[in-house]
């Protein structure tokens, strides 16, 4: 974190392409990143590519000054220390509660007859908060991926997940029962870098800002 050269953590995942487009607009040359999908560290352009859920970790610890990550990821990592600078307005998704498409709703049935709903999700905090707000007792089953499989195999009564178009839900015979939130990509900053590199960060934020 010397002088005012910035290091940005970019998530390799669904936000990857749009995050790079965004940095292109801000005048950062992302060609080396686009050309090589095995390399992770691009010091010549100040970019590190990491798993989406690791972006807050790199930024909190100061290994990156800035990071691009979804509001959904931020919501699960509020115990990390970083500054949320900008809504980048891409990567928009809805967070929904979904179950198998049968009637009656398997979650309502479980709540009524068993007193507790089993919900599989990658977003345990968001899921627990929503069910608590509904007054429903819930048992959260945390999974790392392929959440749609959980209700089909009996792992859970329902899921909480992000949907962009709903195609994956439909392909697996699931239906959204409630929309519980939404997410877009955010620019986050390390609190120390935010002060020590204030001018460079404000300048980049102004160039990257969608509005």
């Amino acid at each position: 974190m010397t002088d005012s050269k910035l290091t940005i953590a970019v998530p390799r995942g669904s936000l990857f392409k749009e995050a790079l487009d965004c940095l292109d607009r801000a005048g950062i040359d992302t060609t080396p990143v686009r050309e090589n999908d095995r390399r992770l560290h691009f010091p010549e352009v100040g970019i590190v590519t990491v798993r989406p859920t690791d972006v807050p970790t790199y930024v909190d610890c100061g290994a990156a000054d800035l990071g691009i990550t979804g509001k959904d990821v931020i919501g699960e990592q509020l115990d990390r220390d970083f500054i949320e600078l900008l809504d980048l307005e891409f990567g928009g998704c809805k967070m929904v509660v979904a179950t198998i498409e049968i009637e009656p709703d398997p979650m309502v049935e479980a709540a009524k007859r068993l007193g507790v709903v089993r919900v599989a999700t990658k977003y345990p905090k968001a899921a627990a908060a929503w069910f608590a707000s509904q007054g429903t007792q819930v048992e959260i089953v945390e999974v790392k991926g392929s959440v749609e499989l959980a209700p089909l195999t009996g792992l859970a009564d329902g899921i909480v997940d992000l949907v962009a178009t709903g195609a994956t839900l439909r392909e697996n015979g699931l239906i959204a029962r409630a929309e519980i939130g939404s997410t877009t990509a955010r620019l986050i900053a390390n609190p120390v870098a935010h002060r020590l590199k204030a001018a460079a960060i404000d300048d980049l934020a102004a160039r990257i800002s969608p509005a």
Partner: protein, 327 residues
């Protein structure tokens, strides 16, 4: 019996310090404590355990994380910092001394930790407290002292962010923010959620020709802070005057941050944080805490700073690494 926590022999967030590390740490802390002592800040040691009932109620929010019950059923707490014990000393042992009182310490304190965060549960703190500091509450004396202590540690790149806990409230008053928006904005600033700040501040009035959003996210060097901004609220004007009067070599290391908000609720007025480019989190900080002393029954100015000695050590190692890779 074997350790129950897998292979971890000490509680998470605590660790053993072995001779190589200890030798370096001792050299750094000795240089810093010597500097404090020669500036007239005498070193004190206080009990590790204090009665919970002798801590003031208003400071409960910074609460001790660990409690023990002694053989008489008294609740004892492990100190969570040294400011509380020194405020107690000033109020009880120096109750008839109008000051100024100057103390320093190198002591361990115990904190609650967030799970899996790698945070230290037990921290080695080095700090100083100035009680009854007079006109500016001792602010310029203490900031100069902090600078000397950081120089004594051997750190080269350190910086100081300064703010005032009253600025955000004054800016919200001046821009006419009231009702629900006010609470949400104060909370968003404290959490560092500038997406929410921008959303909520959009309809607010401007102050000194600047939008509320720009002001709340302003970080500036002392010399570059525009005059119309510097005079926009009483607390900011006071902070700017203080910073302007500091010697040039200290002033150049200062960043004025309008939204700097301390984690500890006993600060009122000047607050500051210490950074080094080699490390991604604050090395320490401090501020004015007159209200805490009032709770102990002593009505006077109080100001102090504390540095995390292990982080200062890590920052020094980081600076050395940076120099090696630069050559």
């Amino acid at each position: 019996m074997t350790a129950t926590q897998g292979s971890m022999p000490t509680p998470s967030g605590t660790r053993d310090v072995l001779p190589d590390e200890m030798r370096e740490l001792r050299a750094i802390t000795r240089a810093m404590v010597d500097r404090l002592d020669s500036a007239g800040y005498g070193e004190v040691r206080t009990p590790t355990l204090e009665y919970e009932r002798s801590l003031p109620g208003g400071s409960a929010a910074l609460g001790p994380a660990y409690r023990l019950i002694d053989e008489h059923g008294e609740t004892l707490v492990l100190r969570s910092d040294m400011t509380l014990p020194i405020a107690r000393i000033a109020a009880t042992r120096y109750s008839n001394d109008s000051g100024p009182l100057r103390f320093c310490y190198l002591s361990r304190a115990w904190r609650r930790v967030k799970p899996r965060s790698g945070e230290a549960r037990e921290v080695l703190q080095l700090g100083a407290e100035l009680i009854g500091g007079g006109a500016d509450g001792g602010a310029s004396e203490l900031l100069n002292l902090l600078g000397e202590v950081l120089d004594a540690s051997g750190l080269k790149g350190w910086k100081l962010a300064v703010g005032d806990s009253r600025i955000v409230g004054e800016l919200l008053d001046a821009s006419g923010v009231a009702g629900d928006d006010r609470g949400v904005l104060v909370d968003a600033v404290r959490r560092g959620d500038f997406v929410e700040v921008k959303r909520r501040a959009a309809s607010a009035g401007s102050v000194g020709g600047r939008s509320l959003n720009d002001l709340l996210s302003l970080r500036s060097s002392v010399d570059l802070l525009a005059a119309e901004v510097a005079s926009s609220t009483p607390a900011l004007a006071q902070l700017h005057a203080l910073a302007t009067a500091l010697p040039a070599e200290l002033r150049e290391r200062i960043i004025i941050d309008l939204s700097l908000s301390p984690d500890l609720n006993y600060y009122e007025g000047l607050v500051f944080e210490v950074y080094d480019p080699a490390i991604g989190r604050p090395l320490g900080g401090g501020g004015r805490y007159d209200p805490l002393l009032r709770e102990f029954g002593k009505a006077t100015e109080a100001i102090g700073f504390a540095l995390d000695a292990d982080l200062v050590h890590a920052a020094l190692a980081g600076e050395e690494r940076g120099e090696r890779s630069a050559t």
